[in-house]
Symmetry: C2
Subunit: 244 residues, 2 copies
Amino acid sequence: MAEIERQPEEFLFRRIGVVRSVFKAKFGIPRQPGLIPEAVGQIVLQPPYNQPNIVRGLEQFSHIWVLFVFHLAMRDNWKATVRPPRLGGDKRIGVFASRSPFRPNPVGLSVLRLQEVCCRNGKVWLEVQGLDLLDGTPVLDIKPYIPYADSLPDASGGFADAPPEQTLQVTFTEHAAALCQTIERHSPGFTELARKVVAENPRPAYQDIPGREYGIFLGDYEVVWKADGPAATIFDIRPGEKTH
Amino acid sequence: MAEIERQPEEFLFRRIGVVRSVFKAKFGIPRQPGLIPEAVGQIVLQPPYNQPNIVRGLEQFSHIWVLFVFHLAMRDNWKATVRPPRLGGDKRIGVFASRSPFRPNPVGLSVLRLQEVCCRNGKVWLEVQGLDLLDGTPVLDIKPYIPYADSLPDASGGFADAPPEQTLQVTFTEHAAALCQTIERHSPGFTELARKVVAENPRPAYQDIPGREYGIFLGDYEVVWKADGPAATIFDIRPGEKTH
């Protein structure tokens, strides 16, 4: 062990880019990537990483891994156990048995569908789909998804063996539907995105207060809704620019 | 962008444990995890992370992600392109289109089969299978593998769509076979491990010098072999403790 103990204990990593995402606040972000294909965004590389060469060949891959920092989950203290929403929020499991953002090293891992690799006007960015990341998330690394090594369909996933059920049936009021139609002109797919994000039932499992209003910040808007049992109603779309 | 630019650009991460592996030197390590199930080892958590609570529930998962540091690939300079061995070593692709250890942030990602979660005598460690990691590798994070989110059997993998072919047919000399039999008494599976590691043809693609001796450090031994076309011969097993 002597040799190992001489190794460094701390490592300094540098941001290579940022995520531009429709998700402008934590509330409402899907709990895993790929759940909502309409959730699109960009990984924008920053200098000195904004070189076309650095992503050469990446366009051959359908999916990428993004390693990022849970920058709003950085705390001085970590806890050995967490309460995942999938378990109702009242059962504790070890932080290393979870994908919680509150971890000893707040590094996250998401697989995203790669739509396009773009190099234009000195800028280099990736158009991605199925985002579960907050706007402004610092990115540390991008790797190609290699199916023969990364895809293990027979792996067993403990309490997370199946995707979360979409528990809410979403309807729009006439007022909200009309606003969505207007927004669709410059943001096609907004209605479907809003519907799916609410359908994921982002409320904490232990919070089921009928009639309580919730707001989810999507793009330039706040989607306002309430739930009653298994039904949710989107009743307003407001201009909104929540910055976390 | 103003708000994003106020975010920190650098992040300090702390080692949470180290890898104990049969691979004592870089040469011979499989190029992806899972290729050699006989490659077993441990992820040993270090204080203050060596708490049984921190891995509570992890035993329900068949596989884990390990985020680690390529500690022997840390360089002051990164290059925008690399030459992956899969492409013959003479074609350059972008570093973000590769899984090369030489990256702007030298963070690696491996999925390993989890055999056992062990908490004994104040120690906490994970027994893992299918290792592609060097002994002493610093570990930053452990996450459960969640099949519904992480497994994408239909993803397309560019130049890495299929696993590498095992190009070498391996035979043992009588001398080497006898030594392996002795080693099997305290290290069961050693012979098969040696065979598979050599069969992976770890030589750089552009290096095919008939008769040249190669040594691979496995556990407490050095496996000595040479290749001639598609055939390899393991002709000696020596005591060996290469420390990188």
